[in-house]
Amino acid sequence: MTQIIDHAEAHALLHAALDGELDAVTQLRFDAHLATCPDCTAEYARLKAMSTAIRTQATSYAAPAELRAALAKAIPHAVEAPKPSNVVPFRRWLRPAGAGFAVGAALAASLAVLIDTRNADDMLADTIVTAHVRALQPGHLTDVQISDQHQVKPWFDGKIDFAPPVKELSDQGFDLVGGRLDYIDGREAAVIVYRRKLHMIDLFVTRARHGGAYPDSFPAAHATPSGYNVVRWSDGGQDYWAISDLNRNELGDFAKAWLGR
């Protein structure tokens, strides 16, 4: 025969009973107590009414259609991204008809250089996308994880043979996360890591490879089919590549924020 359970024990089991979490024997003992206890019966009824009200009235939010669409796009690309062989060559990132390269006066003088270096750009872009994806793996993002430019900048001293500018852009929505070293195209690169919401931005800085400014020394944006956007520019002494899964406009904002200082 089932044992009688006392009031305190039954009271402690009210929620578990309500949630159907009691085993059969305990449920029987609980029911037996409830039949004799108006207090527990009333409390059980109140909890049940509230539970029912939450289930029937509180909002269950459905995923918005835009989110569903964004994921349908992002999921396949997220698989492609870590595979360098799937990275589309750099020239296909370019906007049509030289939108990125046509910079008036600089154009004619630089054309020859561009043609000569295009293949090198392919490889460099591949390397940077791969390095960014590698860095996104847990624990690899930053070697120095400090959100203060006065600490990130000295960290690079003595580790590389140039001084990458480290800027504080948090008032424009880009938080400084830290920095690390990478090796791009056989040269050392300083990587300054920023974050906007959940999106990491890697800013690769290398010594300028052309010994002068890129012809497109204003920011030029490229979208990759793997879901990453790249903006690059040069200030003559150094080349900059910002890469992120941020959308193109926001990454453009980042470049503007950087150049505005």
């Binding site: 009031h7 929620h15 949630d19 009333a42 909890l47 539970s51 939450i54 999921i75």
Partner: protein
């Protein structure tokens, strides 16, 4: 197994739970745009970790990732909203009176949708998530324990305290 098969398997497992993922993220962040950001990030994390998924409840597995992503996201972006958690070591039922003879309590008027949503949103996060997972996602205690990473006893404790807090708030606002 190639990436395409993996993606297909992942999509087949995860996408049916997209509404649940969004609902949890929405209740944890309390903001529609934040919830979308969290779910996107969580789905990418889930895909990355999919190799370590050993079967079982895909819903619990995915919701655990959504929850952790939401917590990371809130720490990074809404630190002011992270409040110290009440201790869970205490007697789970200490706040529940042994005698429920409060005459007011018998007369609780359950509010409308707007009031319920508002009061649930005002619960501390640990209690809110348990309540949402139980009442809206209909997870078992065991599944909630898996999602939130706490023992089943703690789930019971948090859930009963969540209901008690909600009950008190309803009495405070609706009792005349």
């Amino acid at each position: 197994m190639g990436p395409n098969t993996d993606t297909a398997r992942f999509a087949e497992m995860a996408l049916p739970h997209l509404d649940a993922a969004y609902n949890l993220a929405r209740w944890l962040t309390r903001d529609p745009a934040d919830a979308s950001d969290v779910v996107q990030e969580a789905m990418l994390r889930a895909l990355r970790f999919f190799g370590s998924f050993r079967g079982g409840s895909g819903k619990s597995w995915l919701l655990a990732i959504v929850r952790n992503t939401a917590i990371d996201w809130m720490r990074a972006n809404r630190p002011a909203q992270i409040l110290p958690a009440p201790t869970d070591d205490s007697d789970p039922f200490e706040n529940i009176p042994a005698e429920s003879d409060d005459p007011e309590a018998a007369l609780i008027r359950i509010g409308d949708r707007q009031q319920l949503d508002r009061l649930i949103a005002a619960l501390p996060a640990e209690f809110r998530e348990c309540l949402v997972l139980r009442e809206l996602e209909e997870l078992s205690y065991k599944e909630i324990a898996a999602v939130t990473g706490v023992p089943i006893g703690t789930v019971m404790s948090r859930l009963s305290r969540a209901r008690l807090m909600l009950q008190r708030a309803l009495i405070r606002e609706n009792a005349q």
